[in-house]
Amino acid sequence: MPTIATDGIAEDKIRHPTKKLTISEEVAIEMVAVHKWYGEFHVLKDINLTVNAGERIVICGPSGSGKSTLIRCINRLEEHQKGKIVVDGVELTSNLKNVEIIRSEVGIVFQQFNLFPHLTVLENCSLAPIWVRKMRKAEAEEIAMKYLERVRIPEQAAKYPGQLSGGQQQRVAIARSLCMNPRIMLFDEPTSALDPEMIKEVLDVMVELAESGMTMLCVTHEMGFATAVANRVIFMDFGEIIEQNEPHNFFNNPQSERTKLFLSQILHH
């Protein structure tokens, strides 16, 4: 394993996948010449990215580099203004039907969890299957319990999010997304708002998810996670993709000066 990336802390924090992770030939997400502006500010510049089904991609970069915006464009939480994004064969346009189809196929986990505080954990998880997938309540709750078990908090099902720790809330958020049986999962800095002691429990769940063959795009600075499960690491800055490579080469042999500077800052602080 590369020494620089797994500097001790990261090594014991991350459980490495036990299964072999495979990638299919099928294209899950395709972004072609995507541009986006916030008013006059050009936040995404000519993004070209193809993600195959089963790929696990970690996106890193300094704050303001456009990495969150990039993944939020994939389920249209942000609208791109130029270029083409195709998710699972459906193109994201202003056609609301397409947006709804894509949103029900793509799960996202936010930095701030964004659980619904007025609903119990179980209701948080079963809400979308009932109201979007038109499932019967009993069936939806069964699925919700299945995923709550998978993220190892079935005993918290009757509680409200406000009664849980940050790590537990984030695991509920992951379970809530999984209940929609998504084909792609997006993670927007899922561990950045957590206390250090809780990061591991969330990362463990994410590693398990990777083992199950889920297509994942993850904005994170957990480089241990990147080396353990990612098959590609993307470095962004100034709204552009500066460099992408498989983790070993990315960490040990970064090509651009910008990437080297960034890596030296996050790995040796």
Partner: protein
């Protein structure tokens, strides 16, 4: 370690009870009433004030009051000191007028029945643990129409003109109608004002700002005089109906702003989470956004409702006889004239009971809906 008698291993210190003087009744007195010299002075001052106000008031209202008499003279004659007690006989004599206004006596069972039905309609709305609440709620939606038919008549019942409505009954009609219709309209206005569609937003903003910028009395005068100009000639438009519409619109503009405040407080992440799960605008709002926004807005909403309920007395100005109007009319009666204190105290008590119940219910609701820790 040296100045404590016992030492414990790390993590082994037992949970000790707090000192006796800090908790319980003793602690409460010490901390809440007599903690500092200023606190002691204020406690004594407040106790003296209560002592000098409450007993005389109690004597006047209860101990020395007269409950049966035929006129003011007889009433005062029965007292040790003339005017030394309240003459509740007057209120008793006029009670039916205070409740029903000039609603024809043989038909008053319809008002009573409507009132019972009203209570039955309110219960399922207020308490969610009721059996078969779903049916109860359907009934609650149907109630205004049932009550309207019962009170106005027609279709088999003797018609009663709405200008015969009055008293507490009139207050309840205006209050309940205003409250139950202004909440949904207010929520729609609030959502419209936050809409991304400019035309819809501008219409909502104009409506809200116009209504809020005009005094309710002016709106009531508009209702009683001007509305006919805007309607096709020959349209007969009941004055009470016009008042109901104006009061509802007035309060919905306020509700809209209160609810908008609640919507403003919902973090953007909630909208994003709802969107990302594939919920549509309507579902996201009904299931995620409004339950939270309305919960935050409860104090403001109830405040608006209480204001609305009390503002119903303004219909006095356009000649409708609400309890205050009945009271003033009763005081003009030579047999009873001079008992203004009793009349206004009675009316104040009626409004206080209604408004205080609303306030208590809102506190109960806030506690019940509290899920954070």
């Amino acid at each position: 370690m040296s100045d404590t008698a016992k030492t414990y291993k790390i993590g082994q210190h037992p949970d000790l009870p707090p000192p006796r003087t800090e908790v319980g009744v003793l602690g409460w007195f010490k901390h809440k009433l007599f903690s500092t010299p200023l606190n002691i002075a204020l406690t004594l001052l407040a106790a003296w004030f209560l002592w000098s106000v409450i007993p005389p008031l109690f004597e006047w209202i209860v101990l020395d009051s007269v409950w049966t008499a035929e006129s003011r003279k007889e009433c005062w004659g029965k007292m040790e000191v003339p005017e030394g007690g309240a003459c509740w006989a007057f209120i008793k004599d006029r009670l039916e007028l205070f409740i029903y206004g000039f609603y024809p006596a043989p038909q008053r069972w319809r008002v009573n029945l409507s009132f019972v039905l009203l209570i039955m309609a309110i219960v399922p709305v207020l308490y969610d643990k009721m059996l078969a609440r779903k049916f109860g709620l359907w009934y609650s939606v149907a109630f205004p129409f049932i009550a309207g038919w019962l009170l106005v008549g027609g279709f088999g019942l003797t018609p009663v003109e709405t200008d015969q409505f009055g008293g507490i009954m009139l207050t309840l009609i205006i209050g309940v109608t205003g409250i139950s219709f202004s909440l949904p309209i207010g929520v729609l206005l609030a959502l419209g004002r936050r809409s991304k569609m400019p035309v819809l937003r501008i219409v909502c903003v104009m409506f809200i700002e116009f209504i809020r910028g005009v005094p309710l009395i002016a709106l009531l005068f508009i209702a009683s005089t001007m509305l006919n100009y805007f309607l096709p000639p020959g349209t007969v438009f009941d004055l009470l109906l016009r008042v109901l519409i104006m009061v509802t619109l007035f309060s919905s503009a306020y509700i809209a702003e209160v609810v908008r405040g609640g919507l403003q407080a919902i973090p953007n992440g909630q909208f994003e989470a709802a969107d990302s799960l594939g919920l549509t605008y309507v579902k996201a709002h009904l299931l995620i956004i409004l339950p939270q926004a309305l919960k935050i807005s409860i104090p403001g909403i109830v405040n608006t409702f209480i204001g609305l309920f009390k503002d119903t007395t303004l219909v006095l100005i356009i000649g409708m006889l609400d309890p205050l109007g009945i009271g003033r009319a009763s005081l003009a009666d030579a047999v009873w004239a001079g008992l203004a204190r009793e009349v206004y105290l009675f009316i104040a008590l009626f409004f206080f009971i209604c408004c205080f119940s609303m306030s208590r219910y809102s506190l109960y609701l806030e506690r019940k809906l509290h899920t954070g820790h």
